[in-house]
């Protein structure tokens, strides 16, 4: 049997100031690590939540974002004729040809300008995207310069509340409704009639940037996609809306993750040195105890195991502390530039159990590296010599 864990637990507690240095170093590192990952996760799920499995997003072939895509009205009609597209009560296809522009609005918090994505949609947009609901006021009327503002946009920008009048694109717009889109990217957008937006921005009235189609069933997607891509009258690419938004999130998510890993790596070096220091001094302070255990017949291996376990215990406490410390961030809403659309996007940190597990694993990894070398030193120590030292 091995050296009892209670020995390590109590020894670490007895020398708690030294252990605390390790605990705090590891807690800080894990905290930053988990915070960054939960930021990336939050950003990602905000964008992914924007898509729906049963919706298809159609862009010009080769375009990887709406900004660089163009689809003509004739094409919209052909798309709408596809049998996979759901129809409303009057038999009209549930497709929303859309255009986007970016307008600058003042942030409430800092007073500085941030880009907001203004989306011109079809009057049937709410039926195409059932996850979006108008919670205050009403939806815009076709042909009028009216805006429906996303919940987060209303909270973040100055002067975009219900009933406000906003000037942009040389037009005075009236805010007639606030919409709620389940924490998705649409919550950070302003919606209006696509035809009005094209007109105000002097864009050709028959050109849109994307078409979102609600399908009869999500299982009909590949059929729908094959039909459109095979049609010689169309040069479009078709994606599930979920896949499109997942792709949209990739740049920023990767950026945050890489940054998170870099910062965590630098901090981890410090934390590992802290752990090494704690464990080396523990080994030095307890060399007689180690020698006694060895004299009693505990093997080198059990000494190594014992000190590695001790380091893992300390690191585990640090990791747990780091996770608990960032837990309040869960749900905390912040914003960043979405580099795909160059517009501001509000999202909430998401501290998931999986990320906390990753943080804990990271902590244990640091504990292992910080413990294994001192543990080896403890095991290699000459028993006879250590017993002589007072």
């Amino acid at each position: 049997m091995a050296i009892p864990i209670s020995y390590n637990l109590r020894s670490a507690v007895a020398r708690w100031p030294a252990a605390l240095v390790s605990v705090l170093g590891i807690a800080g590192t894990v905290g930053v690590f988990v915070a960054m990952l939960s930021m990336a996760r939050g950003f990602q799920s905000t964008l992914i939540a924007s898509g729906s499995e049963g919706n298809a997003m159609i862009l010009r072939a080769g375009a990887d974002a709406e900004m660089v895509s163009a689809i003509a009205l004739e094409e919209v009609r052909i798309i709408g004729d596809a049998p996979e597209v759901m129809r409303d009560g009057r038999g009209a296809p549930l497709v929303s040809p859309e255009v986007v522009v970016v307008a600058a609005f003042q942030l409430r918090s800092s007073g500085t300008d941030a880009n907001v994505q203004v989306r011109g949609v079809s009057p049937s947009a709410l039926e195409v995207r059932p996850s979006v609901r108008v919670t205050e006021g009403r939806f815009f009327r076709p042909g009028l310069a009216e805006l429906v503002v996303g919940r987060n946009a209303a909270a973040i920008y100055r002067g975009v509340g219900l009933g406000a009048t906003i000037d942009f694109g040389g037009q005075a717009w009236r805010v007639v409704g606030i919409m709620e889109a389940g924490g998705s990217a649409f919550d950070s957008e302003l919606w209006c009639d696509a035809a009005v937006l094209n007109q105000v921005f002097d864009r050709p009235e028959n050109i849109f940037q994307s078409v979102t189609a609600r399908l009869v069933s999500k299982d009909r997607f590949s059929e729908f996609k094959d039909r459109l891509t095979a049609d010689p009258r169309l040069t479009v690419q078709v994606e599930r809306e979920t896949a499109y938004y997942a792709k949209q999130s990739r740049v920023v998510t990767t950026l945050i993750r890489v940054l998170g890993f870099l910062v965590a790596a630098v901090m981890a070096v410090g934390a590992v040195f802290g752990a090494l220091n704690t464990m080396y001094s523990a080994v030095a302070a307890r060399s007689r105890e180690i020698a006694t255990m060895r004299a009693l017949g505990f093997s080198r291996g059990s000494v190594v195991l014992s000190f590695v376990v001790e380091s893992l215990l300390i690191a585990g406490v640090g990791g747990a502390l780091g996770c608990v410390a960032v837990l309040p961030l869960n749900g905390f809403t912040t914003g960043t530039i979405n580099w795909q659309t160059f517009s501001h996007l509000a999202f909430a940190f998401r501290v998931t159990p999986g990320l906390m597990l990753a943080g804990l694993t990271f902590a244990l990894l640091m504990g292992f590296v910080g413990g294994v070398f001192p543990a080896l030193r403890a095991a290699r120590m000459s028993v006879a010599r250590a017993l002589r030292e007072l």
Binding site: M1, Y7, A291, S299
Partner: protein, 241 residues
Amino acid sequence: MVSVDGTDIPGSLIRVRHLNKQYRRGSETIDVLQGLNLDVGAGEFVAFMGPSGSGKTTLLNLLGGLDVPTSGSVTVDGDEITSMSARRLSSWRARHVGFIFQMYNLIPVLTAAQNVELPLLLTRLGAARRRQQVATALALVGLSDRAKHYPRQLSGGQEQRVAIARAIVADPTFLLCDEPTGDLDRKSGDEILDLLSALSRDHGKTVLIVTHDPRAAERADVVLHLDKGVLVHDPATEPVA
């Protein structure tokens, strides 16, 4: 029986032949043990005496498999420990040796009972049997009521008694005691010596003790002196041939 001249004795438990131990300190080499021979029969109570620095601790460490000699052999109960791997030596120590140190060497964060239990963790005994054996060992040293005390809550004499309980709990082949009373007052020292004598006399334990204390030596069956790297019989206890 005990002999120091290299002649075999029948049924000897410990047999040491031509034991040399050198320490190197920089360019200097110190010859501590120089061709030492020793034979100890089972059940003997042997005291080693000698001035400080004469190599008593060195000898005990070699007998207990805590250190390796420069040359020579130590055989205990037929096992030549001087040729064992470190790994085998560890488990050999667990099975055969009970150490008692001058500074007790109890683990400060463990209770008396937990300290005593340590050697049993290296056996196959289950928790219930271990608890029972710990209780027996603590009772034998008269500390049943201190089982839950930590070393810092015990007097020096009590600590050493816990150490004795720890040394005997797994019923080792022999006990090695390095100045077990060196740090104790006279009364506590006497209690420790009483215990060791009783272990030898009543339980047939083989006990090897290093001591400066003539009163401790008095209890021993045989007193050996470490002199210039070899053992010699004490003239006072020299068996008349």
